[in-house]
Symmetry: C2
Subunit: 221 residues, 2 copies
Amino acid sequence: MKTPSTALVLLSGGQDSTTCLAWALERFKKVKTLTFDYGQRHRVEVEQAGRIAKLAGVEQELMKIDLFSELSRSALTHHQLEVKAGEDGQLPTTFVPGRNLIFLSLAAMKAYQLGIRDIVTGVCQTDYSGYPDCREEFVRSLEQTTSLAMDTQFHFHAPLMRLSKADTVKLMNELGHLDWLKESHTCYEGRRPACSKCPACILRLKGFKEAGIIDPLEVES
Amino acid sequence: MKTPSTALVLLSGGQDSTTCLAWALERFKKVKTLTFDYGQRHRVEVEQAGRIAKLAGVEQELMKIDLFSELSRSALTHHQLEVKAGEDGQLPTTFVPGRNLIFLSLAAMKAYQLGIRDIVTGVCQTDYSGYPDCREEFVRSLEQTTSLAMDTQFHFHAPLMRLSKADTVKLMNELGHLDWLKESHTCYEGRRPACSKCPACILRLKGFKEAGIIDPLEVES
C-alpha cells in the first residue's frame, strides 16, 4: 500500500538521490523531483538528473541558486581548486558549510508552495567523512525548524541514512531500477564514461563490488 | 563590560534592525553587519542600510540572493501585487513562507566564514501578524539546527522579540542613537520623505507616538 500523498525528492543526478527516487516511487502515490542548479563543478550532473526524472516518468522542478560561490571556497563550486578526499578527522575540501541546510530549507519552501509535506533526501551519515549536515540529528532538527518556520508539519525521509554504499546498491537492485544508475553521475572529473580513478568513482566501484552487482554505468577502460 | 566577541547584525535598513545594531554595539566588542539584496520591492532599503552602517562606523557585508521571486508571490518581491495588511488570522500578502529561515541560515553560514558565533536579528513576535518564522520558538530551533549543520555553537540574539514598537523606540532612545532612525526606511510605498499613510508608516508613527518620542524621519506633510 502506498502512502496516499505526494513526495518531493531532491534529485542531484547522483547515485544516492536516484536510489531515493526509486524508493519514493515505491512508497508514495505521487512523486515530484527537485534539482538545484547551483553552479556545480560539472553541469553534467544537472543534465543527468533531467534524464533520470524522464526515465522515471516524474516531474522535475529546477531551482537555480547563485549562492555558494560567494559563500565558500569549496572544490564543488570553485573550479580551480583541487579535489581532495578528507583526511583523518578533517573535512574534505568539497565541504560547503551549511550547504544541506540551505538545500533542505529551500526544498521545504518549494514543497510548501506545491502543497507537499514529505521530502526525500539521499543524505547519508555512513559514507560521508565529516559532513555535519548529513547526520540524522541534523535532519530531525531541520524537520522541526522548517515545520515551525512555515507552521506546517513537514516529514523528512532519509532512507539511505545508515546504509553503506553496498547496501544502497542492493536497495536499488531490490527496487528493480538498477538500469537508472546508468544515467546517474558520480565522477568528480565530470567525465562520461566515468574516469574510474577519482575518489568518487573508486567509492562507487567499491560499493558495487561489495554488493556483488554489476554497475550499468559506462567507465573508461 | 562588553562581550569580548564579534557579532553579526542582520541589517535590512529598517527601524528594527537599526535598533539591533545599536544594541549590539553596546554589548559586543566588535560588530559587523550583513544586508541581503534579494530584489526588495524598494531598493532604497538596501541603500539606507549602507548609510546606517556608515553612520555606525561598522563593516557591511552585502549578500545578493535571487531566490524569492521564484519562490513566492509576495508583495515584497512581486511589484505588481498590492500591499495588504493581514486580516484576522490570515497572513499578510507580504508573507514569503520561510523567508527568515533562509535569511538566518545564510547569516549563520556567513558568520561561520567570518569566524563569528553571535548573530543578531530584529525579528519580533509582537508586531508581526502571523509570521511563524518570527517567533521565539522558531529562532531557538534554528539556532540548534544551524549549530548542528556546521558543528559550531551559534547564538542567535533577538533583542526585540517581545517588545512593542513603542518599547523599541524607547530602547533606541536609551541607546543614544535615535538619530540613526532618520536613515532607517519603513515606508511600503518606498518614499523618502515617507508617505505617512501606508500601513508600515502608520505602525511606525504609532510606535513613536506611544513612546512620546519624536521620529527624526522626514515625512510628507
